[in-house]
Assembly symmetry: C2
Homo-oligomer: 372 residues x 2
């Protein structure tokens, strides 16, 4: 984890083929396993400069002190989990050669268990008050329903999602692009404290590692892979959240996007996802749950229009009611002609409408009752 | 048009079968054509009470004065067009038996010609400032591009669409649920004046007829049928705009909906259309035109992210650039290890990055240049 960059597929294949200990021994010896390089090249269909990559890994060897990392982690209260551990979330296998070699965890939650029913909520750092509000509301609703909220711990939508989740009852997980002790950005310090108490800070980076642009992008694949699906709340046209959504699409996870004002630059990315049918349009917690849950579970209630008393009338009664004047009265014959209904039917319907309180009879004929 | 209600399918079939003059003669005689009733019943698969409908039509006969209607129309400056006239828009044939028997027109535009390239923009009467803004912007953009805007002349989204259209160069058409002289609501009087000058007021109702709830709903089928497609800008869960969208779906017209804040009740109807895939999500004039125009014409430009100078760097240069500290300097060996790139390559890339202005060499090593 110190020698190769996070998500390095060559190292991923080396470890998959030989196991971590043998892979490390080969790097130390400066010679990759016989046939391995040819195999990789054959699989990719073009040659790969393994020698140069090996040299770069080896250049980092003198600076690596695994014992010190583990000691530092223990001192901080963080733990390292690797594939095969009970707490390892096996859905990360979907990342194939880019699966992390291990994850540093800091917090009270069990990573594998917490992610069984989890949704990631991501979006712009420079979020609008609308986006912050919606992210917090969605996260709180999902958390109340027992869904773990995963995000990136950044300002804006990420922070709102974590905060909303903490307002509910479920755990919330931040996947960081730096050591769990660095916990960037510092302005979310209080939030990270809350997540260590009810949730987790997760990172591929050993303690002390600082975030870089590349680490943020590489980190996004973990947010997508850990969860059943990703909800993009706000995303400008150039947003890291779209990279997470892209990973989710590639990993066959659900992708949802929240619409917003078409006048808001922060919703352009969401609308593009919806227009391209890469994301489902979601507007409520229920709709997110319907999408993410197992098929047939948790169907979202359709938004229902209120039923007005008039709706219960048959077509003939409605026509007659429309023909009754609101102020001055009208005789049944006039009403019948206007409604296009014969006189006998009109008289009988007027009686029923009067009994139901829609119309009243005055000295000048029938008219609507005020309250209708 | 005075005897039967607008869109009465029985009258539509009678006129289709015998022509308007013979149909009127049969109603006057009180006897529908031999076999016609049986034919209708056979087609519907269940008996239909033609006698009662005939009686209702006949009850209106004494109040009908066609000559007076025509004279009144001429006096007002309105004209009556019927199927077969040069100005008759043949796309109304898609309404089959509910095709209007005729249309009263008041204004300078040619109805058939104006509707060749037309879009309807509809939505809530109680619109939000957001909806009003978007409706006006879309209509103005479409009008500038030569598209006729059709709407219902109501307050809110309708009025904003007509106003936006008048701000452009194309014509705009209001399809009313009352006589073109009644021109409800009165508050849009100035707008209707503008539309008579550059556009049309259109109605199935003869002069002097007042609007009713039923006439509004029946009118919506004309808005859908006249145009290539319907854009719903804002619609609460119970909105006439959804009835227009429903007609457009049934008529195989394009249907689009503008997303809005999920916190706005006025956007619930739009989001439901999008979620059910009954409408395409549209956010700009271009996207509306792309949808409504002939296939291949007027493709909408995709929203493009700005390209930053860093994007042009290859992966190795980016890694090296990330490894260069921003304040204190670092030696090439440290940078090479951090970037995971060998020393010779690092040195050569640092030279290129310095020439391009990304990094600079100081007494303490390499560092980022301020402006980057």
């Amino acid at each position: 984890m110190r020698i190769a960059d996070a998500g390095d597929p060559l190292m991923g294949q080396l470890v998959a083929r030989y196991g971590a200990e043998e892979a490390l021994a080969q790097v130390r010896e400066g010679r990759l396993g016989p046939g391995f390089v040819a195999e990789i090249a054959a699989r990719r269909g073009k040659p790969i400069d393994c020698e140069r990559r090996l040299a770069a890994w080896r250049a980092r060897l003198p600076y690596v002190d695994a014992e010190a990392d583990l000691a530092r982690g223990e001192e901080l209260g963080a733990r390292l989990v690797v594939p095969g551990d009970v707490e390892w979330p096996t859905q990360l296998d979907d990342l194939h050669h880019e699966r992390p070699l291990g994850l540093w965890l800091h917090g009270s939650a069990d990573l594998r268990f917490a992610c069984l029913r989890s949704v990631s909520i991501v979006g712009s750092r420079a979020a609008t008050p609308y986006g912050v509000h919606v992210a917090a509301e969605l996260a709180a609703g999902l958390s109340e329903a027992g869904w773990t909220i995963v995000s990136g711990g950044a300002y804006g939508i990420d922070a709102a999602a974590h905060r909303g989740a903490l307002a509910g009852v479920a755990e919330t997980i931040a996947v960081l692009a730096c050591g769990t002790d660095v916990a960037y950005p510092a302005g979310n310090h209080g939030l990270f404290e809350g997540m260590r108490a009810r949730g987790l800070l997760v990172s591929e980076c050993p303690p002390g590692v600082r975030p870089t642009r590349i680490r943020f992008l590489v980190r996004n694949r973990l947010i997508a892979a850990l969860t059943r699906g990703t909800v993009v709340v706000e995303a400008a046209i150039r947003s890291g959240a779209l990279s997470t959504a892209g990973h989710a699409v590639k990993l066959s996870r659900h992708v949802a996007a929240v619409p917003g004002p078409v006048t808001s630059g922060n919703s352009i990315g969401c609308h593009r996802l919806i227009r391209r049918a890469e994301a489902v349009c979601v507007t409520t917690t229920h709709e997110v749950i319907e999408l993410m849950a197992a098929i047939g579970d948790d169907l979202s209630p359709e938004p229902r229009a209120p039923v007005l008393p008039r709706d219960r009338l048959d077509a003939e009664s409605r026509s007659i009611l429309e023909a009754v004047p609101s102020r001055s009265g009208a005789g049944p014959a006039t009403i019948a002609v206007s409604a296009g209904v014969d006189l006998m039917t009109t008289l009988s319907h007027l009686g029923v409408l009067a009994a139901a309180g829609y119309v009243e009879r005055t000295d000048h004929g029938w008219r609507l009752r005020r309250s209708t």
